[in-house]
């Protein structure tokens, strides 16, 4: 039977917060100093594109930078992941990439569990003070994966306004509403909208 499927060397690019994780990380971290609600509000406004991602992230890091990094990592290690997505990534870790605006020094427990390559923002602690050294531009990272890592096709999955560039540049963009409704900008940049991790992985395996 004829088929609509074409096999090309495909890279799968995933947002992390609210896509691979079942919770947004920064509000979880913020609960350590009792400002989960405030950071949650800021995170929600950022996801929906009401606030510029970079400005919001800098502000959130400023607030959360006072928490001991070991405590942050312990919180991050306990954040539940979407098991379907985790299985999919483990199956094809060579071709899966996590693209996250979150900080490398905070999210390492999750990256370790996933076992795939990641592009993230960078930061370091100097005398106990957090300093942001770079913030990830997802559009640039997607271009790098396509051109430098020589993939013929890119599939991208994300939920927030800061995923729109990645979703737009991918050959197949998927807006994922596993934790909350995907931002309008993410939906409008995507070909597919999916709300369930199992359905998402079933679609990914078909592409």
């Amino acid at each position: 039977m004829e088929t609509n499927r074409t096999v090309k060397r495909t890279a799968f690019c995933f947002d992390m917060d609210g896509t691979i994780t079942k919770d947004e990380l920064l509000p979880c971290i913020a609960s350590e100093i009792g400002i989960a609600e405030e950071i949650g509000l800021l995170t929600k406004a950022t996801i929906n594109g009401y606030i510029d991602f970079e400005a919001s992230f800098r502000l959130r890091c400023l607030l959360l930078g006072q928490i001991n990094p070991e405590v942050v990592q312990a919180v991050v290690a306990n954040v539940p992941l979407d098991e379907h997505l985790l299985d999919f990534i483990k199956e094809r870790k060579e071709d899966c990439f996590i693209l996250t605006g979150n900080l490398d020094i905070w999210i390492s427990p999750i990256l370790k569990r996933c076992g795939c390559k990641a592009f993230s923002s960078h930061g370091e602690y100097n005398n106990g003070k957090l300093q942001l050294t770079s913030i990830l531009n997802k559009g640039r990272a997607v271009r790098h994966i396509r051109s430098e890592l020589c993939y013929e096709r890119l599939v991208a999955v994300g939920d927030g306004a800061n995923d729109a560039a990645m979703l737009e540049l991918a050959d197949v963009g998927i807006a994922f509403g596993g934790v909350h409704a995907p931002a309008q900008a993410a939906v409008h940049a995507s070909r597919y909208v999916v709300h369930d991790g199992d359905a998402l992985c079933s679609l990914l395996r078909t592409l």
Binding site: M1, E2, T3, N4, R5, G177, A181, V187, H188, S190, R191, Y192, V193, V194, H195, D196, D198, A199, S202, L203, T206, L207
Partner: protein
């Protein structure tokens, strides 16, 4: 024998004859939308369900997020300038195996659908037929054969015993590069196997009244 593995529902259209201000599939009869009724029917089978959205996609995406998170929504942003065949082809892209293609403005009796799916595994393409009951019907010329009904033509001009039901099965590529109406594309492959379905279609205000009665009569 190849079973049907996928369902593609087209709900991208404007539904301009009814002028509801929302997609026809969001019409509620006895508190259940047409789309929910259709998805519930399809969920009884091991089918991957793709719903192609366009006009007022926000409403349908929100509805599916709440009630049908397991379906995949496929966006057709060009719904104003493309037709149902285009939406169906979009919905079936990347799918493997046989698909059942459905218009989202239908209420189908589940028993007749079950039999339709059973019959679908026997032929490459199976055309859904129904008793003529809508205002803007496309009629179907048929012949009896040893293997059941054979579809030999489609016409808008002459009323026949059967109406085109806007449901059919076939390979996922079936609607690729279809420039016109779905039935016109199917007509290129005639003769095709046909199978009756018990259903109501909502295209006009009169159809809507008939569809309501259909739902009440069968308790759907």
């Amino acid at each position: 024998m190849q079973p049907v593995e996928n369902a593609v529902i087209a709900v991208a259209g404007l539904g301009s004859r009814l002028g509801l201000g929302h997609p026809k599939c969001m019409l509620e009869f006895t508190g259940v939308t047409l789309l929910t009724r259709m998805i519930r029917m399809l969920e009884k089978y091991p089918l991957r369900i793709h719903v192609v959205v366009g006009y007022r996609e926000d409403l349908i995406i929100d509805h599916c997020a709440h009630y049908h998170p397991q379906v995949v929504l496929v966006r057709n942003p060009e719904y104003r300038t493309t037709n149902t065949a285009y939406s169906l082809a979009m919905g079936a892209q990347y799918l493997n195996g046989k698909c059942v293609f459905l218009d989202g403005d239908l209420i189908v009796h589940p028993d007749s659908f079950r039999y339709f799916l059973q019959q679908a595994s026997r032929s490459d393409v199976l055309v859904g037929l129904c008793q003529p009951n809508t205002e803007h019907a496309v009629y179907v010329n048929t012949e009896e054969s040893a293997n059941g009904l054979l579809v030999t033509g489609f016409t808008r001009n002459k009323r026949t015993r059967h109406e085109w039901a806007n449901i059919f099965t076939g390979p996922s590529t079936l609607m690729n590069d279809a420039p016109n109406y779905v039935f016109e594309h199917l007509a290129k492959r005639l003769p095709l196997s046909g199978q009756m379905l018990d259903l109501a279609e909502v295209d006009t205000a009169t159809d809507m009244q008939k569809a309501k009665l259909f739902v009440l009569k069968y308790g759907l």
